[in-house]
Every structure is written in structure tokens, then in C-alpha cells.
């Protein structure tokens, strides 16, 4: 008995069971179900164009949610992403206005997001303050800086090439933001699964004291996590600026809640240590689908807020039930 018990240990869980217990996959089935229902309600819904439209609408939220997923898995939260979003846009806008070109705008924009993320990370990791407090402060600071950069006035006028980020479609069909989201998510999935940095992200969220005693450099990893979140937020902001043909200091208000909502719908625990990046992508798609579907059905935009909020709470409740059944 002892002998036969040893080898199967090396095998992975059964494929089918593994797939069904996979958070991202079961959530994906729910998304498909939502699409089917909406498809029945409106003939327009189920066109290739509209599905791609949803991915486009979800893109900005999904990119922020990717960074937020890292932060939440590590046991923190980033409330400042909406303001970092605006600040990055304004920095990119100033770079554009001052003739730094496409490369300059992108580098300064992403750099601005990463820099504010770095400050968040230092506050959390080195000063040892709660992430909620640090990022709540940053939420206000970054918004103020975004408004200061051009006295609260948006910067109009995109330079050539910047439009590609948000407005172009590859082969005239697939929107560029959709492609960017796919690349970012594959990258993030890979990082979380196959790099020590990703593994440590879970470890810190699961038990930071145990991680420290295992030789994990907590503050280095935490700072990296917040920098990544800031940079991905900046990337999202460049895409939205491109789509809007302008750089808006008042943009991104409330985006932190959308992003956190997407992550939470994806089943990532706010207590840290657990979560799936692909589930966050599906979470973002679910929120976008609700908005798109209600639009198509001609339901007031005000109801979209009501529906989004209700879905977030419902999704977490269902996830709780699922976990209880699995005996977590």
C-alpha cells in the first residue's frame, strides 16, 4: 500500500475536475450563459462586432484589474488607481504637447504610473502602513497632481500614431486594446504561475510572516507589485486617452471600484493569498457585458450602476457558497 501511494502523488488533479474547480473556467461558463441570454433578448447582441465591442469596453477596466489582482493577492488593496490613471494621462499629455513624440508620451505616461506605484509600494512595504491608508492618500495626491499639471484643463490633440493604441483595429476587425489586454493577461498569468515573484505574491498575501521566515524579500516584492499595478493603470490610461482623442485630468473617477469589482467577481479573496488573474479578466468582461447588454436593451444608464453593484455582491456570495461546499 505504501508503495502504490507514492507515485500518484506526482500526478496532477484529474483534467475535468480540475477544469470545473478552476475559478476562471466556471466563471467563463457564467459569462457565456449571460451572452446566450442577452443574445436571445436582442438579435443585435450576438454579432462578432458587438462581442469585440464588449472586449474593447472591458479593456481599460481589465488592464487596471490585472494590476489590482496582484495587489489584492498580496493582501493589499490599491484605491489610488483611478487617480494614477488621470495623472498618467496628464503626464503623457504634457509630453505630447511639449513635443516629446509618441515614444516620449508612452514612456513618460507609463513611468508616471510606475513612479506613483513605487511610492505606494514604499509606503506599504518600508513604512509598514496599511495599503488602504497609503493608497487612500495617493488617491487624493495623484488627483491633485493630475489637475495641477494643466490647471485642470484637458489637453487635446493627439500626435500621429497615438491613435493606434485605442482606435485602430487589426485587420479592420480586432481592436488593438483587445490585443493588448490579451498579451498583458498572458504575461501576468505566466508571472504568477512561473516566476518566484508571482509565487511570492501569493505567499505574502497568504502569510507574510511565514514568507519572511522562508527568506522571501517582502518589501522588494511588495514594491514590485505596486509598481506593476501603477504601470498597468498607466497603460490603461494611454488607451483611453487615445480613444477619447484627449488627455483628461478628471478621468478615471471610480475606476478603482470597477477594477476591484472585476477582481472580486473573479473570486480573488480580499484577505489575500488566493486568486486567479484569468478570473479577473472574466470578471471585467462580465461587468462590461452587463453594461453593454443593458445599453442594447435600452435600459437607462443609471440602472447599470445598480446592476453592477448587485452583481458584485451576488458573485461574491455565490463564490462563498462554492467555497463552503469545498470545505474552505
Amino acid at each position: 500500500m505504501e508503495q502504490s501511494a507514492k507515485l500518484p502523488i506526482l500526478r496532477r488533479e484529474g483534467r475535468i475536475r480540475g477544469l470545473l474547480s478552476n475559478q476562471a473556467f466556471s466563471l467563463f461558463l457564467i459569462l457565456i450563459l449571460m451572452w446566450l441570454v442577452l443574445g436571445l433578448l436582442s438579435p443585435y447582441f450576438f454579432t462578432v462586432n458587438n462581442v469585440l465591442q464588449i472586449t474593447l469596453q472591458a479593456a481599460v477596466m481589465a488592464l487596471i484589474a490585472a494590476g489590482e489582482t496582484f495587489v489584492i493577492i498580496s493582501g493589499g488593496i490599491d484605491l489610488s488607481v483611478g487617480s494614477i490613471f488621470a495623472f498618467s494621462a496628464m503626464v503623457a499629455g504634457v509630453a505630447t504637447r511639449d513635443g516629446l513624440g509618441l515614444g516620449g508620451a508612452i514612456i513618460f505616461g507609463l513611468g508616471a504610473g510606475a513612479l506613483l506605484g513605487l511610492i505606494n509600494g514604499i509606503g506599504v512595504a518600508r513604512l509598514g502602513l496599511p495599503a488602504f491608508i497609503v493608497t487612500l492618500g495617493m488617491m487624493s495626491v495623484a488627483r491633485g497632481l493630475a489637475l495641477l499639471l494643466n490647471n485642470g484643463v484637458p489637453i487635446f490633440g493627439l500626435i500621429e500614431g497615438f491613435k493606434i493604441l485605442g482606435q485602430e483595429r487589426i485587420g479592420g476587425i480586432v481592436p488593438v486594446p483587445t490585443i493588448i489586454v490579451l498579451i498583458v493577461y498572458i504575461g501576468c498569468w505566466f508571472i504568477l504561475r512561473y516566476t518566484p515573484f508571482g509565487r511570492f505574491t501569493y505567499a505574502i498575501g497568504s502569510n507574510s510572516e511565514a514568507a519572511r521566515l522562508s527568506g522571501v524579500r517582502i518589501s522588494r516584492n511588495l514594491i514590485g507589485i505596486y509598481v506593476l499595478c501603477g504601470a498597468l493603470t498607466a497603460l490603461a490610461s494611454l488607451i483611453e486617452s487615445s480613444r477619447l482623442n484627449s488627455f483628461q485630468p478628471a478621468s478615471g473617477v471610480g475606476y478603482e471600484l470597477d477594477a476591484i469589482g472585476a477582481v472580486v467577481i473573479g473570486g480573488t479573496s480580499l484577505f489575500g493569498g488566493e486568486g486567479s488573474i484569468l478570473a479577473s479578466l472574466v470578471g471585467a468582461l462580465i461587468i462590461a457585458t452587463i453594461r453593454n447588454g443593458l445599453n442594447i436593451l435600452g435600459i437607462s444608464a443609471f440602472w447599470q450602476n445598480v446592476a453592477t453593484g448587485a452583481i458584485i455582491v451576488l458573485a461574491v456570495y455565490l463564490d462563498r457558497l462554492r467555497r463552503n461546499r469545498q470545505g474552505v
Partner: protein, 515 residues
Amino acid sequence: MNVQPILKMEGISKRFPGVQALHDVHLEVLPGEIHGLLGENGAGKSTLMKILSGVYRKDSGRVLLRDQEIEVNNPHHAQTLGITIIHQELNLMPNLTVAENVFIGREPNRFSFVQWRKLHEQTRQLTDRLGIHLPPTTPVRNLSVAERQMVEIARALSVKSQIIIMDEPTSALTENEVEHLFDIMRDLKAQGLGVIFISHRMDEVFQICDRITVLRDGEFVGTVQASESSADEVIRMMVGRPVAEFFGQGESHPGDVVLEVRNLSKTGTSEDPQKRVLSQISFRLRRGEIVGLAGLVGSGRTDLARCIFGVDPRDEGEIYVNGSPAAIHSPRDAIRAGMGMVPEDRKLQALFLAMSVQANTSMASLGDVAQWGFISGGRERQVVGSYVEKLNIRLANLDQRALDLSGGNQQKVVISRWLALKPQILIMDEPTRGIDVGAKAEVHALMRQLAQEGVAILMISSELPEVLAMSDRILVMHEGDLVGELTREEATPERVGAMMTGEESSLSVGKYEEA
């Protein structure tokens, strides 16, 4: 028998998805009886107690409280029936006072306003009844583990419990505290209460219990009179085979000095910045030897381990590894110098409960299974799998979460995390706390084997028999001083005990001098 039992559980069965946790289990507790409930981890003790205290519902069987059949619906209902459970992880609110904790939810009040004087008076009556001195207004966070247990017992008395379940109450106590707890348990017994005592420590079970019920794999094995049984018999009942409680002493051949600590001192804890935690500690550890570090809780044993491993900062003192000074300021530094540490509290300091066994095992050695900065999944599984096999860790597959393993297997996962790094020095703080006898023997055998392979082991343990059986050399600490060093031949329980309590010292405490 004409004494009417307080509690009778008959034919209790409980199924969880995939496991028959309990099958036709019996338990009977008489008034004024201390009843031991034994079994390896996973034998069903906790499940049975959770059914009794209303956390789980039984699938079948009957529970009789003083011959009345009862259905325990929830923990609160259990309390009103007079059934109280005192958990291993105590259930107190640290920021509330002793009195507030004892009477939480039931504070004496008039028109909804708490009558503080009455609350404190009643609390004092209860603590007096237990023969303990705890000011009712002390916040619980300032109390030791032993004192917190007393608060829980006071609470149990205040709700007029008939049955008190104590789940491994002694695992975090010093010998003196255990004695005190046993006195109180005898008092409860004299007052006619029934006490169910769960413990892994055979000597304690036989010291305090009247009868012992043994479970194995969810089945009822039997109930025996403690006076007519023996530890060997009970262990046989638990594991279904004879096991030596301690792995026999092996041959060890200490080699060169791998670790040398010189004049290590530390002052100040979070509660008391003036407290002298460690003063001028110096000692050496050689290849292939197991050195036991004995001392009462609070004597600085754990602090010493934490300072050596770089978890806590030290005020002064040098650490030499293989003869050269090692700059250790973090656990990471210690790991790079060739150390590993199995910390005192598995769940709080070592395990990532929601993560897989694989991730738990490879956490400290990820660098070794990573190539070009990426984790090679196949290699990781291979390395982890080899330790799972070597340590005989019982699990379904490597993706199983650490949470779902028994205490013994969890501890083996923690140990294998360090073995994967091939350390020269392994510090083990309470390596067998809260694990069952079978796993304990395996851990002891493993330690012996590691020593033979040349690893130097520094073992901290509150169990004196374990220290005496496992150590080639014993260091004894008392109030932050290293007061004694005994060879295996010199060490007797009496001498080590005398040193632990500060009655004897074999070392002149003073500054280290070059030998």
C-alpha cells in the same frame, strides 16, 4: 454501575464529502470524571467534539445529557445546555478585559447599562473559586497563554457548564503551568463536572485521566480505565501497532563546529522595552549533533533561536558559521549562511495554508528550481515529490492545500521546506508540538538521520522527556541567561529541571572568553 453518566454519545456517525469522519462512535462521561479522548490526528476527535459542541450536526446516533436525549443545534445552544469547549486556539477578545471576556454577552446590567462593579465582583468570585489571581480589569492581551486558559475556564464556570471539553490545553504551557491547570481540573472534578481532555502527551493523560477513550480512523476502538492500562497499550490502540514513543538514541559523531554564537544579547520586547531578553549567550554547535535547548516558556529559548536566524534584531553579539563571521540581519541572510528554522507556531509562522503542498515545500528553495528566473514546474514537482517520499508525507497529490493536512503532515512539509535547501544548521522550535505519536516518532527518526548526515540541529522543546531522549547535549536557559550545559550522561530530569527554574547553574554566567 449506578452512577448516572452526565453525557452519553451513542453510535455517532458523520460523513463529509469523500470521507467517513466518524462511524458508530461511543463516549460516556461520568460526573466528577476526567475523561481522556485520544487518537492520532485525523482519528475523529475534533469532529466528535464539534458535534458535541454544535458546530457540526451528526448523521446518526444519539447524544444523551443526563439521560435526556438532546439535539445540539449550534454552539450557542451547546453553551445553554452546559457544554463548553476550550479550543487550542483560545477564543478570547484580546482588547477586552478579563471580566468582559468572562461575561461577554451576559454582562450584569440594569436598563441595558453594564453594572461594572457587579461584573468585576462576579469575575473575582470566579477567579477565587479557581484559586488564581487575575485582576478583572486586565486586558487579555497582556496575559500569558496559561492565564488566558484560566479566563476561558472561568467563563465556562460562569455559564454553569456541566461538561468542559479541553482541546490540547497543555501544548503551550510550561511544566509548572500544567501542574496548576491539573490542580484546577481536579477541582472541577471535585465539583462534579465532567471534563473531556484531549492531549497527545501520554504522561499527562495517565497523570490526570480516570478513563480513556481511543478513536482510530473515525472508529471507536475502546474505553479503558487509566489505572488498569498503560501508555503502551493506549498507543497500540491508537495506531493499531506498537510504536516507541521516542525514537531511540542513535550514535552521533559530532564533527567540526559549524555554528558559534558569542555574547549574544537583546533587551526589550514590544511590551517591556527594559526587559533583558537575552544576556551574553555564547555556545557552539557541531556538525552531526543534536543540541537540546531547554527552559521555561519566557526563558528566552525562542528569542535566542529568532535572533540567531535573523528574525529579531540582536543588540550585540557575533554569529560565526564554519569559523567565519556571518552578517545575519534577516532570515534571508541566515538561509544563505546555511541555516533553516522550523518555527514554534506552524500555522502562524510557517505554513501558507491556502497554498499547495508543492508551493509550501519549495518556498525557501525557489531559486534552485528556477532557471533564468522562471520556475521549472517539472523540476519543482520532482524535488518536492522526492521529499514527500523521503519524509513519508501522506497526501492525495502535491496540489492539495496545506490546510487539509493533519498536523503531523503539515510539520513534515515545513521540515522538508528546509531540507530542500540542504542546510548545515537546522533550528527546530517545538518540532513535535501538537502532532500525533506516529508522526512524532517519524520526526524524531528523521532528526536522528539528519544528524547522521552531518546536519547540526538545535532543538527547542517544552517536553523534558523529548529533550532528554533526543539531545546529545543540553543547554538550559533561565530568564535570559544560559545557565547550564549538560552532556547526555549528566542530564537527568531533576538536574535539567533545577536549572530551568534557576536553582542550579553549571556555567559561570559571564562574558565569553577565547578558549
